[in-house]
Symmetry: D2
Subunit: 310 residues, 4 copies
């Protein structure tokens, strides 16, 4: 009841070409905090206001892109129930033992119809958000909030074929709502699907791409549009490659800027957007308004935004 089942996107694992450059970007510029460097070289990071040990995992590799996304579920019973339901949906499920992944309880893993590896877990070590649990106050010590002033991991957009099937998995098995969708004005085929398991306008989204398993972007939440402007100023100062922005999405109404990490993985920081509930009507956009759907302050679609993925 209330919030139960899949709670949130709790972890995005990315491949980067050069770890030092990646940390310059994610730690020093964006202001995420390294909480662990694994024996295998993987680096784990979190945003200041998250309690869990990490939300981002970086692995050095020859190609950029996504290793996996992982959702935290409310408890172990949900994990067991989901293992059965995902298998019933038709996807093979692999079990990962507790401790096999750092700071993490047991997990289940499967591959989405759109080609990405996805995991579920009920437990990850909590290390807190720099504020005590008794009489916490509202601000951590100066220096904790730095860089882009990121509050937390928010959502990811994944690219591949079969996005209707991926969406069906999230709706029928995981109980998500479809908050918005972008369709072809003629064929009515799904081009992008936005799914929520909370009151956010999306927790995960899919965009149609010919190749499976592609990664469009990972997005982090900022406290205000003022912070989006500040992040954009930093992006300019440090010449981080900008994809698009600042602008306002039509879909979700978020104030946004898109940019690339040194390996070419797309990042977003954003703020705002409407409050979504399961009874909020699904919003539909069609390709006659592709520009408005993506970047509503100039109604102009960007070629790179639609075609560049890792």
């Amino acid at each position: 009841m209330a919030m139960r089942g899949l709670l949130r996107l709790g972890e995005v694992a990315l491949r980067v070409l050069d770890m030092k450059a990646a940390l310059e970007h994610y730690d020093k510029r964006m202001g995420l905090e390294v909480t662990l460097t694994g024996d295998d070289g993987r680096v784990y990071l979190k945003a200041w206001d998250e309690h869990d040990h990490h939300c981002l995992v970086l692995r050095e590799a020859d190609t950029p892109g996504l290793d996996h996304v992982a959702f935290k579920v409310s408890d172990d019973a949900v994990l067991d129930e989901m293992a059965v339901r995902v298998r019933d949906f038709g996807l093979p499920v692999k079990h990962i033992a507790a401790g096999a992944m750092p700071k993490s309880g047991r997990r289940i893993e499967f591959t989405l119809p759109s080609g990405q590896r996805m995991q579920l877990y009920a437990h990850k070590e909590q290390i807190g958000n720099h504020l005590p649990l008794l009489n916490p106050g509202v601000l951590p010590d100066e220096g904790v909030i730095r860089g882009f002033r990121i509050n937390r991991l928010d959502h990811a957009l994944l690219g591949g074929p079969n996005i209707d099937e991926s969406a069906r998995l999230f709706q029928e098995v995981f109980g998500f709502d479809m908050s918005e969708r972008l369709i072809d004005a003629d064929s009515k085929a799904s081009l992008a699907l936005f799914l929520s398991c909370s009151i956010k306008p999306h927790d995960i989204a899919f965009v149609l791409q010919p190749e499976p398993g592609r990664f469009h972007h990972v997005s982090f939440l900022l406290e205000s549009t003022y912070d989006v402007i500040h992040a954009a100023d930093m992006i300019g100062k440090y010449r981080i490659p900008v994809d698009v922005g600042p602008n306002r999405h039509g879909v979700t109404r978020g104030a946004t800027i898109y940019f690339f990490d040194p390996s070419g993985n797309r990042n977003e920081v954003f703020s705002g957007g409407y409050v979504h509930y399961p009874d909020t009507p699904t919003l539909t956009w069609d390709t006659s308004e592709l520009g408005k759907a993506t970047f509503s302050q100039d109604n102009t679609p960007r070629e790179s935004f639609l075609t560049v993925l890792t």
Copy 2:
């Protein structure tokens, strides 16, 4: 799964001493929109970005205060299930037929241990948020967002005895999490309890008061702290009686201003606050930090804030 059960505080029904003065306040100043005036004189209002027909019901009466709060649930099955579970919890449940209340499906009603009447309903007529469902865009026509620029009803704080029991009902029966609580530093007795059924830091809260059924405040969500400042400017311009603010809550971290409607019912507009999940540790405040818990920008408790209720 995901968001199921009680979704949100969907309706607050208040008694006001003078309807004309009340509408001057809620409609003309705050910018809520009158959607219906009932044959019995009740007036129904909504905020611009809500889809349901109304979130606020005003009734002219000899005393101010709360008639009821009502939560929307995800579906009728939940309504039936809750009728049983609330009765099992020990509270008599009354059934209200569909249509007995304007624009509303059937409801169940019961009295909280702290003395307030509470209702649940699965259906209310949806009249939309001034944006189309196809290619909606992000801004309604000019004039729709006016007054305090309120996005939606957010939460209420209720006063009475037995608040631990009211909280237990929300936790055990309705599946809410306790996000924060304020306790007496010596006796450890609960003084205020904050409960969430979403990722907001609270959807409902209770404050200990000797008399049952008291109303502390109803709160509306603004898009940004900038809008809180704007609302405060309007409050000053129209000499709306201010209780406290602008300030920042320790509890929930919201940027806030409190004020009174012409009948003395307390209102809040706020923005911000952290993202809460069921696995977020419960935060505890004690009376040694009462000021910080309530108004963290000066750590100063306000007598009126703690004692004036309707």
Copy 3:
């Protein structure tokens, strides 16, 4: 002493192709207020927080572009002094009698070396800013601040040859400071010059263009970057053609969005920027950093921004 001489850009007179469309833009969308329609069809507008009768004059014509810019000076003695000094600088000076232009005292007029007609005047009828002079308060009545929520006319950018000469006039005759300049990295030739007679980073600016008398943009001041985002949302909603933005200028540090009126005249709304004093060192940008100078959040120069003028 203190603020004396030329006070501010007080008036920009533009040609528009269609007055009805122009008023839809400047009045209904941008939220400027029509204060007079002349017998000759000219329309006069002001921003809400200005005291003078108008800051913008529109004239229907076959081509868009600039009729004139006019600066308000502190008193009539300055006007007489400037008539002599401008003539001594080598520019013919024409006198315009009081009342020849609506609501205006006498003026002097001359043509800048870069080709624009410029006027000076000491008096224009003051009609106030919707707030009383006794116990004014801070907010006008609701509805007065509308559209893009423009506070006032701020500056203009003019294009033409001989911009060093135009700048020399402003510096030597009018006592302006050069706050910033953009030069060719190789030849060191001036490409754009920014001049201030106040503590704003610029009150007038010139950009090198082969044709004389060209108009780049007129800019209006908003209260906050939050309002820039709001204006951008409205620009998107009403499909006003965007040139660039939202972004942050390197030059002046203003948060900005550029767009076009229906006749193709460029407008800007902006907020922020540093405080400039006469002893602030002049900042220099060269073409090796043209992108950073113009749009510092992505360091990317825009072709249209540099070449499209009316």
Copy 4:
């Protein structure tokens, strides 16, 4: 012409009871930067976006309060002219040799009718604002903007008798405008006078007090109201004693918070306010609206704000 004569309040010199505590406050919390510690123990600080060597001078003493305020003038000729004019006004003028005060050219000093020591100087060593003069960009390196994110010293409010005389000096000798004034509703006597030598609503102000030479507050400029809220959050976190705020002034329209340094000297950080020109009508407030004049978001005068000075 344009900006000439007195440019700005360039320096406030305060007495503090304990230098270590004072630096904890001004450097570590407020984020001003220590640029020099003199042999005599005086500490000199600046805000990040100022070019001059310092704007605040602290001296350890047995009582808190003001040593002097100093205005920067445009050039040495002004200094000489002012020495004569101030003497003609009736005030003895003392000359201070170049170098007698660190990093400073020669100065003149006199005592205001309201009892404060005031200095004028044309030169102070410029050490820059952390941005290069060639292709500067908009953001300094991370860590430069810290604490309350103060941009620069803005103004001071001084208390004493004879404030009409002090104002007359600023108007007749220094060429300031009176932007606003607060008068007794009955006697029409001046209670507070606000004077501008720029386009800010005030550069200096005086409040009637029985004792001469009193100090009400020194005020620093923040970039946005969002930063005022952030400063208020820090003030709460570090339990800096708050006098009033956050709120909005009626006078000047600034968004403000007042607090005390550890010695009891009052500080303000603020943002916003209207643009003032010499031809802007003087605004008058009377004591029938004392609350609105001071704190317009609740129209409530604060006893301490009017009576506590150092």
